[in-house]
Assembly symmetry: C2
Homo-oligomer: 407 residues x 2
């Protein structure tokens, strides 16, 4: 599915069965191809936050822990994420940040690993915080972090845990979770999957793949808001594992105020401190947009949007940009990336022109596709604007070279 003219792109939008979901979002007048960095505000999240702040906190005060169900938020929100990732609700919990949750599940995975195995295997291109947290866990557990550009080839009987992000944050390359998990299990290794760039964008089947542990992000494709709480998954057979961040919300009876820790029986033992109620409520409301959504249809439209972008870039910007993503949707997440030696100022110029993507060091222009609100005309127009910036070298102006704190 592609479009050589804007009219053809508009026709694709007119025929799009997901198009009506765009009304759920509160979008400013920009072309937003960065929902994989920060999902946009939904009308539901805006209203819910106002209610939580004004009524539940303001009027209800401490009573709202019971009357507004604050205490159940981590499991209630998890139940909305579970179907998006192929998990039973009781195997998912919403809490803390992705980094903190990775610390928990990686520690738990090491405690569940075969005796004597102390190697965590990952890729050098994994998202940095995953590697940093693995370093921290490894240092504390007397384990080692091993990195390989070909982790499948590096899998052997020394590996305790294979830790991978399903979709590469720079290139969008997608691992075959079922095949990789099976390969890990064949050598007796456990798997920890980071779903930061998968959950809400693609069908994920953790249980079907036999994944052992997973973590994921609330503020990308799930649209939970900046710094939204994250989630984690633990397969049933590992839920007796201990995790070191043994705080009171992970206790079997948090409000009995007992002096000794007794972990909760199930996934709740992966909770730690008091849940961030306002932030978690925003995520809770944002997830309602997925209630009647078929992720297979989402992934199909994402592939079509990406294919359109690649075709238009090939046609208009081929002299300037190199595709950094897989050309085939079968091995790609919901994004397309291109390399440009002056990627940073190019992206700044594009943002100034109203097309928001991401720059990722050293030379990546990254564009995320979020089919619930991204239109074919958005992609079509974005490439026109990008082509103009490249052809006229509009990016080569001093203001686009100045580095911001966050890139």
């Amino acid at each position: 599915m592609s479009a050589a003219t804007r009219a053809e792109a508009a026709a694709l939008d007119a025929a799009d069965p997901l198009a009506h979901h765009r009304a759920a979002f509160d979008l400013p007048d920009v072309i937003y191809l960065d929902g994989n960095s920060l999902g946009p505000l939904t009308r539901a999240a805006r209203e819910r936050v106002a209610t939580v702040v004004g009524e539940e906190w303001g009027e209800g005060l401490i009573r709202s822990w019971n009357t507004a169900g604050w205490v159940d938020l981590p499991t209630r929100v998890a139940a909305k994420i579970a179907p998006l990732i192929g998990a039973a609700p009781r195997d998912v919990i919403v809490t803390d940040s992705t980094s903190v949750n990775l610390f928990k599940v990686l520690s738990a995975a090491l405690s569940e690993a075969l005796p004597g195995r102390r190697t965590i295997l990952s890729e050098p291109g994994n998202f940095p915080t995953d590697l940093y947290i693995a370093e921290g866990v490894a240092a504390g557990e007397g384990a080692a972090l091993a990195l390989s550009d070909d982790p499948l080839a590096a899998l052997d009987e020394s590996v305790a845990v294979l830790m991978l992000t399903e979709v590469d944050y720079r290139t969008g390359r997608r691992h075959d979770m079922a095949r990789v998990t099976a390969a890990a299990h064949r050598v007796g290794a456990l798997t920890v999957w980071d779903l930061a760039h998968s959950a809400g964008a693609l069908p994920v089947d953790l249980a079907g793949a036999g994944a052992d542990f997973a973590v994921g992000c609330g503020y990308k494709y799930l649209n939970g808001g900046p710094g939204a709480p994250a989630f984690l998954y633990v397969a049933p057979q590992h839920q007796d594992a201990t995790q070191p961040l043994s705080g009171w919300f992970g206790h079997a009876a948090p409000f009995a105020f007992e002096p000794a820790y007794q972990p909760a029986a199930g996934i709740e033992r992966f909770l730690t401190g008091t849940p961030s109620v306002i932030a978690m409520s925003a995520l809770d409301a944002a997830l309602d947009v997925f209630a009647d959504v078929d992720l297979t249809a989402v992934a199909a439209k994402s592939a079509a949007l990406a294919d359109l972008m690649i075709a238009r870039v090939d046609a208009l910007c081929g002299d300037h940009l190199t595709l950094a993503s897989p050309r085939s949707a079968a091995t790609r997440g919901s994004q397309v990336s291109f390399r440009h030696p002056s990627g940073y100022p190019v992206m700044q110029a594009l943002i100034a022109a109203g097309v928001i993507g991401d720059f990722r060091a050293p030379d990546i222009l990254r564009f995320g596709f979020t089919p619930l609100y991204t239109r074919f005309v958005d992609v079509f127009d974005a490439v026109d604007i990008l082509a103009d910036i490249l052809a006229a070298r509009r990016w080569d102006a001093p203001q686009f070279h100045r580095r911001a704190a966050v890139t």
Copy 2:
């Protein structure tokens, strides 16, 4: 300062130099003596959250990390907390939950302890999550958690870290931080203080006391909202310590996306994942109420409110309640607790009558004083209502005996 009649209580309010701060809060029509469990909504926090959600997230989208200064929130909010706890801004950071932060500083404290020392000393009455987290840290570090009802007497040269909460969450008993810290240092032990029931309620002087590490809560006296981000303090001489939750926001260059962890030079190394922007912004705005507040005046009014409550309870409820708190303000935090064998239903009946305090197992009725919005007439009226409930045994009705999920 006390009042034997309501008119005298009203006169104390009329003369109260802190009285005008009450207008900063958005209070419902109840007598709220539970700001030590969940501080109430301020008008500033309500407005700020609406702006962060609607404008910064909704309109600014990903750009707001730079344009709205989201990336600096952890240090900017810390700079507002620092003067409340006797710390330099560069020694404080706002992040995660109290439990997660305690894991970080306790791990760091063990790494800074004298060689061979592996005992964490605390009290059995410390807040449970502190003990649970210490158990988790101890298990991972090959350390031991030792509990003593008289930790000063139990201090000896085996102790690596003395971990205490300054103000006891049940009784309100306050430790002398300077004296206890000096005693710990005399035997070569480091100190970790939990300021959950101190910060914002009493003058705290971490630097003056020579405290090594501290953690504290954002949602009690600091009014940051339910589950607000917490803070931590690390004395300058310990800021080279490693902490195990080495996530990307603690990296020296988070947006360079380097594969190897390199901790930030200062307190920022105690950050982990992406900050919870909406929640942290609520705390940021709420802290503005402290901008021109003298905590010595706050503590003086708190003592007067507590003394009034004790005097009125002595006068009206002496046959029913036993004081569980120190009678002297000098050794008391900003709360007063009483024991009653049917504490749970008594508190439920009191809440139903519009006076909100806390029950704490097994038999504690707890009342917190928050001088920026608590009035002398509130305390006067609260005891009248309590006395009536006790005298008429109004609490002994079935609906007050039913246990809620959160107590």
